[in-house]
């Protein structure tokens, strides 16, 4: 197992490449999801405000 992580002496190069890729891919997955949720929440809020205004009329 430790031999696997040592990568024949190239551990720092191999694992830093894989780690960097993991970070970039996760960010690219997470950030659009968060934006999407934020927009949905905004729309919902706007909608409930609108309907409460309609009721007052």
């Amino acid at each position: 197992m430790s031999e696997f992580f040592a990568m024949g002496g190239y551990a720092s190069y191999v694992w830093s490449s894989y780690g960097l890729t993991a970070i970039v891919l996760c960010l690219n997955w997470y950030l659009p999801r968060r934006t999407h949720q934020q927009i949905l929440r905004q729309l919902k809020r706007r909608h409930s405000k609108q309907s409460s205004l309609d009721r007052k009329k």
């Binding site: 890729t21 690219n28 729309l43």
Partner: protein, 247 residues
Amino acid sequence: MFLWFHKFGSAPHFYRIAGKWIPWLTALFLILLTTGLYGGLVLAPPDYQQGDSYRIIFIHVPAAWMSLLIYVLMAFCGVVIIVWRMKLAEVVLICSAPIGASFTFLALATGSIWGKPMWGTWWVWDARLTSELILLFLYLGVIGLHNAIDDKRIAARAVAILAIVGVVNIPIIHYSVEWWNSLHQGPTVTKFDKPSIHWSMLIPLLLMALAFQFYYALTLFQRCRGELLKRERNSKWVNELSEGNDV
């Protein structure tokens, strides 16, 4: 065919379909990723020249392929925008740019990390590396230009022209290792005769490439859903969507 095209191009339809596909695409991506990583990091033998350092290939090469593929798709969207003024193409083009930029960055960064132990340097100004760096600037240019113009319809046309013009860089990147002398090794997979790579390395490489394609599709859909909502916030279908809770 045209009916399908029209239906797929309509914003609410695309929004719904994309939402349905995302979990499936994610599942396929994860399966391909784990098998590809297992094959590449565990099963494949060390290279006879480069030892274990070559294992960076399983992310470097697929990322580089994606950087080219996504740019070509963006240029194709650019043509669709100019000719048919299709709104969905505008959304796909602009949502592809950050993903393409990420893959280009990864190709450059992992290549650099690979270059240090093998070439003895992080960076050389040779044709392959320089043209890939230009590709990164093209992606960033697309994002910047789109952000700089307030009217999104005009912005889309400007970005479309940039994407189409920039596509000349793609064959330059691909053939750069043949046209110019380079430290970068020649193609090992996309040769017309037999690829000079053993199948125990080739299979995980192709699995990773496929995994990255599914990853692109799923993050693209996610980004497009957000962008569509933002653009069409005053339309009827978005209004109906915010009435219901089933999102």
